[in-house]
């Protein structure tokens, strides 16, 4: 197996993990610094979305890591 470079699917997984982390940050920032009343009202929902994206980002990153290491 290739320990130095990344295969296409590993790279895809790493890119997906990065995208999900950015989405999680987007939702978390809106929850913590609401842009408007809707964000204030839906703070709990925004935090749930951030947590969901963070969780999936971690799973995806781990898959990419293990695929790379084996």
């Amino acid at each position: 197996m290739n320990h130095v470079g990344r295969t296409g699917s590993e790279q895809e997984a790493a890119q997906l993990a990065a995208l999900l982390q950015r989405l999680a940050r987007h939702y978390r920032e809106r929850a913590e610094q609401p842009r408007d009343l809707a964000d204030r009202i839906n703070r709990h929902e925004l935090l749930e979305l951030a947590e969901g994206a963070e969780e999936f980002a971690q799973e995806t990153a781990a898959r990419a890591h293990f695929a790379c290491a084996t």
Partner: protein, 138 residues
């Protein structure tokens, strides 16, 4: 008289985490409380959703140029396309119940900043375990 039938069955450990795999895979109908529109949604981050992200990103970069898929605008556009293809699988519009589901139109709606509430509602509903629970948990 047997007492066996009177012994309560202990609750299954972690029962509150149970989801119905068929609901996760095929989706469940949910109704928007204000508009009455219905969407059939799968659980967010199912395997098809991950694949849809990769395809949406590749399409975005093919359209906008290599390396453009890493900005806030790109993230939201890619997320909208992935959701329209792999999370939302059908709709019943209150205003036009026979209109067939159109993923491209749904992607455009989900990407519209004026419809941020729609995007957040669908994302939140598809993220919520309670929507995908089995009818009866043991």
């Amino acid at each position: 008289m047997s007492t066996a039938t009177n012994v309560p069955t202990p609750p299954r450990p972690f029962a509150s985490l149970q989801v119905d795999p068929q609901k996760v895979r095929d989706g469940v109908w949910i109704t928007h409380p204000d508009t009455g529109d219905q969407v059939r949604i799968r659980r967010r981050f199912n395997p098809e959703h991950a694949a849809a992200y990769a395809a949406a990103r590749a399409e975005y970069e093919a359209q906008h140029g290599k390396g453009t898929g890493e900005s806030d605008a790109a993230d939201l556009a890619i997320d909208a396309v992935a959701m329209s293809r792999a999370v939302v699988v059908d709709w019943r519009l209150a205003s036009d119940p026979t209109r067939p589901y159109d993923p491209a139109e749904m992607a455009a709606l989900l990407a519209d900043p004026e419809l941020d509430e729609l995007r957040r509602w669908i994302a939140a509903q598809s993220n919520r375990r309670a929507n995908f629970r089995p009818e009866v948990t043991s």
